[in-house]
């Protein structure tokens, strides 16, 4: 079984052997750049298509199936069309900020990619503050949204932006607390350490009920943080037409659209890493044979499988639930999630200190 680790290692070795270190570094940078860009593009295409297909299946219809084989090229056509569509900037807008906002959102999305371990040894930067870094950078995107909403000079946009501002910052807290719960168990912020600590089992299963509670809270919080239904107040179609990106068209809108899906992928990847062991295969106690078979599946598949499972979960929410109202949204966070997650953190600490986890 080939492993991505070998590929990265050997390519790095080859690079450094062939060129001098500066050129090798530059080449490496270029390779990484190309990789992430293509990852972005592919993720965008796949996730949007997946969303539409999942929605269609839940809504007893077929979904895109006529563009390309089985509708595979639907999102490609969409992207191309959006690229070939005029990008308007309203007259009254603050043009500079208006055009800057999609960049901010994209950069934030891109930066969070850094510490994510896509497979064993396939990570851009195993930063030692891993998850803290993630929650830090993800808070930048709220500024992009506020910027977009304000600069559009549109009332819907502004209202949407303010809502999402309040929403994202609030839910960051409970997301943070549930991340910390895992940090307590794993004893490190570094992604690789956290994954390594799940060698014997995923924290979701090993951490008793508090871990499950943390997981649930995490999922709720990240759904809210990515402005997904049922928390999609920032772009509540029936209230604010398109929310903060009402005035965006063409490629700039596509970037917001893409960033939304990238963010979903990222938060689900984080969730998979923290709770479901990242690329760690599923191991069950002493079932040697079973574990062996599981090991045989490449780690990247494990990672993607878990991530896409979580993404599916989030899509499932979207296509099932009505939207919350703004005040309910905030009271859900402040009256339920935050106190529960704080209390839960104490429980987890107890478990960790007593070593009660498996």
């Amino acid at each position: 079984m080939f492993s991505l680790e070998n590929i990265t290692d050997s390519s790095q070795k080859w690079l450094y052997a062939t060129f001098n270190s500066t050129i090798a570094l530059v080449l490496q940078c270029v390779i990484v750049m190309l990789l992430v860009i293509s990852l972005f593009a592919v993720l965008g295409l796949v996730l949007v298509l997946m969303e539409r297909k999942v929605a269609a299946r839940m809504q007893i219809r077929l979904g895109p199936n006529r563009v390309g084989p089985k509708g595979m090229l639907q999102t490609a056509a969409d992207t191309l069309k959006l690229m070939m569509k005029e990008g308007l900037t309203p007259d009254g807008a603050d043009k500079f900020l208006f055009n800057l906002a999609p960049f901010v959102v994209m950069i934030a999305g891109m930066l969070i990619m850094a510490p994510i371990a896509f497979a064993k040894g396939f990570q851009i930067w195993d930063i030692n503050i891993g998850v803290l870094y993630v929650s830090a950078v993800s808070s930048v995107s709220v500024i992009g949204i506020l910027m977009a909403g304000w600069a559009s000079n549109n009332k819907y946009s502004l209202l949407g932006a303010m809502r999402s501002g309040a929403q994202i910052v609030s839910y960051e807290l409970s997301a943070g607390f549930s991340i910390v719960s895992i940090v307590v168990l794993a004893g490190s912020l570094q992604m690789s350490d956290i994954i390594a600590s799940q060698q014997t089992g995923w924290w979701l299963f090993r951490g008793h009920i508090p871990a499950i509670i943390a997981f649930v809270i995490f999922i709720i919080a990240v759904t809210a943080e990515t402005n997904r239904a049922p928390f999609d107040l920032a772009e509540a179609e029936s209230e604010l037409t398109a929310g903060f990106h009402t005035e965006y068209s063409g490629m700039k809108f596509a970037l917001f659209f893409l960033a939304e899906y990238i963010n979903i992928f990222i938060v689900c990847a984080i969730g998979a890493t923290l709770f479901l062991g990242g690329w760690m295969p599923l191991h069950v106690g002493h079932w040697k044979g079973f574990n062996h078979v599981m090991d045989y599946i490449p780690s990247s598949l494990w990672f993607l499988g878990k991530t896409f499972f979580l993404i599916f979960l989030i899509m499932w929410f979207r296509w099932t639930f009505p939207r919350l109202r703004v005040d309910q949204l905030l009271s859900l966070e402040w009256k339920y999630l935050l106190p529960i997650s704080m209390f839960n953190l104490l429980l987890i600490t107890l478990i960790a200190i007593m070593g009660w986890h498996f």
Binding site: A166, L338, I353
Partner: protein, 116 residues
């Protein structure tokens, strides 16, 4: 790769976005008309600017958020060493939380968590 990674990623994001925007800028010609630049408001000309002073009901939440956010940054280093430090850590964080939770309850009681 260290901090360089961040730089690369930033550049990648900029390239990616700028590429798309520039392509559409150069290849697509749009029609021009007087209404196009007007803000969209369901097809009715907008009256009054949204940039007027505006009542944000959420700023109290932002205030509270800031406080809790700061709290959270102290929890991170604590969380890393919980297992090493043991009981002491639990006690310390319990005190820490307790004090803050008092504030939280106070806020709750004062109705600050209620939407206005």
């Amino acid at each position: 790769m260290g901090p360089i990674a961040l730089l690369i990623l930033t550049i990648a994001a900029i390239l990616f976005s700028a590429g798309g925007i520039l392509v559409s800028k150069f290849l697509v010609r749009g029609s021009v008309n007087a209404q196009k630049g007007q803000p969209y408001e369901c097809g009715i000309p907008a009256e009054g600017s949204p940039w007027n002073q505006f009542n944000v009901g959420y700023y109290l939440f932002a205030l509270l958020f800031l406080i809790f956010d700061v709290e959270l940054i102290f929890v991170y280093p604590w969380a890393v060493v919980v297992k090493k430090v043991g009981w002491m850590a639990l006690v310390e964080i319990a005190i820490f939380f307790f004090i803050l939770f008092t504030g939280f309850l106070y806020a709750h009681k004062k109705g600050a968590l209620k939407w206005m």
